[in-house]
């Protein structure tokens, strides 16, 4: 397998940037072409963030005039070809498949080796992964092994017109600021993106692509970490905030965990999910999986109702992509009113039951009319 030129071995004639570092791409790294997306799958199911990334990769590739490739690692009995076919419909041109018994179920070591080998062999310019527990674990390991730049949790990906480099924008300092980060002298340029930050692309059933197979060259006895078991979450308590259409969120303004049932009741009437803020999660009022925001989940619902939430910037970055944001807060100066579409200055403990009743009555009436 061909070895990628390491940045350390690059010619020393590059002009020095700030702090004496190289900011110019060496000739051998200029050969790196194409946008790659790591297709995350588990137990027969592809994580939607991978398709969202294919959509984003398509835009980047169209700007650069290069192909999009889907990268699939998995076990011999896993339907990787089916996933590849699906990736083509979302905009991928090629797929690289690596099948091996040791790649069944995610483990850092074999996946890092497989990914690193593929990058060194085919030399992609840009490599995107979902900012999930799998993607973040893998991206950090691969970037360190390849000694290249990695930008985490990006909210916007663009091609810088002058340098043609990936300009990756991400929130920092808990969302108080955004910064645009580029990897100028190293390849590939790596980035992770959270679920639901990018839009889901539309599938085009007529699209197809070409599949290339590679082998891992690693056997089970060489893998140190063993997976003894996988305990799947019970469906009943599975919270899927990022993909919920309606989210009713409660904050510290609800005063105590008992009042959270008002949030649950409205969410139930709307067939939605319950979200929350970091302070409520830290206080143990709700499960960590319900946290919306910079250190929680990014959501993109059609309707987001924030009750007793002040709207700190950390929370804002997680929910501002909602189509309609309704805020209920006693403080007219709360920052939530700076980005909500509709605001009610009032006590959430009184407003929530009234809203629940009104929504229930309205939906009952309308469904009778429709029927």
């Amino acid at each position: 397998m061909s070895q990628a030129p390491t940045p350390a071995a690059a010619p020393a004639k590059r002009p020095a940037g700030r702090g004496g570092r190289n900011l110019e791409l060496s000739d051998e790294l200029k050969a790196y072409k194409g946008v790659w997306v790591f297709i995350e799958h588990d137990r027969g199911h592809v994580h939607s963030v991978s398709w969202e990334l294919i959509g984003e990769a398509r835009k980047l590739a169209d700007t650069l005039g290069c192909p999009v490739s889907a990268i699939l690692l998995g076990g011999p009995d896993e339907p990787l070809e089916k996933f590849a076919a699906e990736a083509f419909t979302f905009g991928a041109d090629k797929a690289y498949i690596m099948k091996d018994p040791v790649l069944k179920g995610y483990r850092n070591e074999p996946f890092t080796k497989g990914m690193t080998d593929l990058v060194n062999k085919y030399q992609p310019e840009i490599f995107l992964l979902g900012a999930t527990s799998m993607g973040r674990d893998l991206a950090g390991s691969v970037a360190t092994t390849l000694l290249t730049g990695l930008t985490a949790d990006c909210t916007e990906l663009k091609i810088d017109p002058t340098s043609k480099a990936l300009a990756a924008t991400r929130p920092t300092f808990g969302g108080s600021l955004y910064c645009t980060i580029m990897t100028l002298a190293y390849r590939p340029q790596m980035a992770t993106v959270r679920p639901r930050v990018m839009l889901m692309p539309r599938a085009d059933a007529s699209r197809t692509g070409e599949i290339t197979y590679d082998t891992l060259g690693m056997i089970e006895t060489q893998v140190v970490t063993k997976m003894l078991d996988f305990i799947a979450d019970a469906n009943s308590n599975k919270i899927n905030l990022p993909y919920a259409d309606v989210i009713v969120s409660g904050g510290k303004g609800l005063k105590n965990p008992e009042n959270f049932k008002l949030v649950f009741e409205l969410a139930r009437v709307l067939g939605g999910e319950v979200g929350s803020t970091r302070p409520c999660v830290q206080a143990g009022w709700v499960e960590a999986d319900r946290q919306v925001g910079q250190t929680g989940k990014t959501v993109r619902p059609k309707l987001y109702i924030a009750a007793g939430i002040s709207g700190a910037i950390q929370h804002r970055v997680g929910c501002e992509a909602a189509d309609v944001i309704v805020a209920i807060n006693t403080d007219v100066n709360a920052p939530i009113f700076e980005f909500a579409h509709y605001g009610i200055v009032g006590n959430a403990m009184q407003v929530l039951p009234a809203l629940t009743q009104a929504f229930a009555a309205h939906l009952a009436l309308r469904s009778r009319q429709v029927a």
Binding site: N108, E109, T144, D153, F173, T180, T225, D233, G271
Partner: protein, 282 residues
Amino acid sequence: MHIVVCIKQVPDSAQIRVHPVTNTIMRQGVPAIVNPYDLFSLEEALRLKDKFGGKVTMLCMGPPQAEEALRKCISFGADDAVLVTDRAFAGADTLATSYALTAGVRQIAKEQAVDIVFTGKQTIDGDTAQVGPGIAKRMGLQLLTYVSRIVEVDLENRSITVERRAEGGVQVLKTSLPCLITMLENTNEMRFANLPAMIHAAAYPVRKWSKEDAGIEDLSKIGLKGSPTVVSKVFGPTPRSEKVEMLDLENSSLRDVSLNLIQKIFTRHPTLESDLLMKEMT
């Protein structure tokens, strides 16, 4: 058992304000704290020490004042603390940071072999979750991120079994020591520091290592030079152009305001109402 816990001193991001004109972080008066995610890892390290005996050594890369964060960890029960601090580390991205911390861990391991390295899941200022995996790769350690529970440590056979949070479930993984672990948040509760421990921590001689002390000779791998990523632009969030529409509760009843709001929501988002009705019927 010798455990190294890597921490970072961070500004309390919940209290950070951005200057409205210059778009710079206003640090004045913002307290510096131990990155909260690191404390879940520290507590887990202390529990292992309680069970198996041994030593917990803290490691931090940062400016001289980060010594305070290390002292805090001593007050919780850590045994020793090293701060790698050198102007040459300034401007480090995650790759360069993982290099400096790896050098620190290797130097500490020369004094006593290390069984487990802990880092926080991520920091609350950078939020990247990249430094832990970076150190593991550089040291050739098995990486266990998002660990929700340490099931068993078998010192005789040099193995460890953990539960790791994955999408849609929990992986039960068994690997060999030494390894690198990042704990998931809310997996444990940090113990309190008592008064004697705080007095001990206040006087504790935190070791400060320069890049040479940490055994780093190659300047091209640390600080700005060792950082492949370049920050090209920093800016504040764009204010929303559309202003919020307030619904007045003072001159109308809760019921009327609710009905009015529902009308507005469904007028603004027509497909939402039909989606909800569909859901209702199925």
